[in-house]
Amino acid sequence: MSIFPFVVVAWVCAVGLYGIITSRHLVHQIVCLIVVQSSTYILLLGVGYKTGAVAPYFYDIPLNTPAVDPVVQALALTDVVVEAAVTALLLAFAVQAHKRFGTLDPEELRQFQG
């Protein structure tokens, strides 16, 4: 049972990838990529979690209180914001693709390759 969070990580990642390969709309595909990325946050925070520990803020608790790993939290925190920026860039490319080819269907866009 103690591996359940990591099974959820695998499920979220796999279901997102499934969405990406079966998608018929670029914006839908980008949202599926967001889902894949979100699995990494769950993985990072799951790895750093310690049973019974508190959040790593020592404002009003004694210094030797057991706390969860702050390093993975710092990684996840910046990732979330960077993810938003990367999504914005991808969306801009989708707008560009639609402007030039008049479609957002990856299958139809394929015929413009070359």
Partner: protein
Amino acid sequence: MTPRQRRWIFLVAGGGFLAFYLWGLIGLPGFGNYPGPYGDIINAIAVPQTHATGVVSAVNFEYRAFDTLGEEFILFIAATGVATVLRHLREERDTSAVDEAKNRDVPATSDAIAMVTLAFIGPTIVVGWYLASHAQTSPSGGFQGGIVLATAFVLVYLAGQFIVFKRLSPIALTDAIEAIGAGSFAAVGIAALALGAAYLTNILPLGSTPGAVNSAGTIALISFFVGVEVAAAFILIIGELLEQTLIVREGDR
């Protein structure tokens, strides 16, 4: 490759991945048995060493500040990329912008929505500012504060004041502020070099009390610059998209 073939390849590869992943998981310490020691060491030394009670911020803006610098520049480059791609589109469209304004009905924002939205602008700015400037004490920091600050500008737009939104955030100014935010972070690091310390060493006085707002030296400063950069980047991205979507609305007024 047909979609059908692709689905089969995915199912086979996904099945294999899942099998090896589960196999690997069984040999690892389970959820809640964090083996350490990295996080435990940081938790023990961060507060005495940096006088920041928010250890996550201490990691972000002190121990791994160089990494955060890289992440901030990802954000910077992404915003620049959005602006470049969309501005290119805008130039293409300028010739044909006239006929699109025909028979388009832009609903006016109702007074009730405008009232509520305008009432929220002040508190949003205060919350954003608070978050960006309290990284060293409590769960907050430049990344979250920056987005909340950008939201305040979006509220101006939501209240139906697109013209005001554009006037408050002219693209040249937003560009410059974004660059200043990103550059100042790098400059804080270079200041440490000038004093003979390693890049991004905490060179400012740490303050006497851990948890005070004026404690933790460069952590607070860097968090603030990150907040400025993130806010400007998101205002820029949103502004570019709005410009694209709502040229018509501006023409109506």
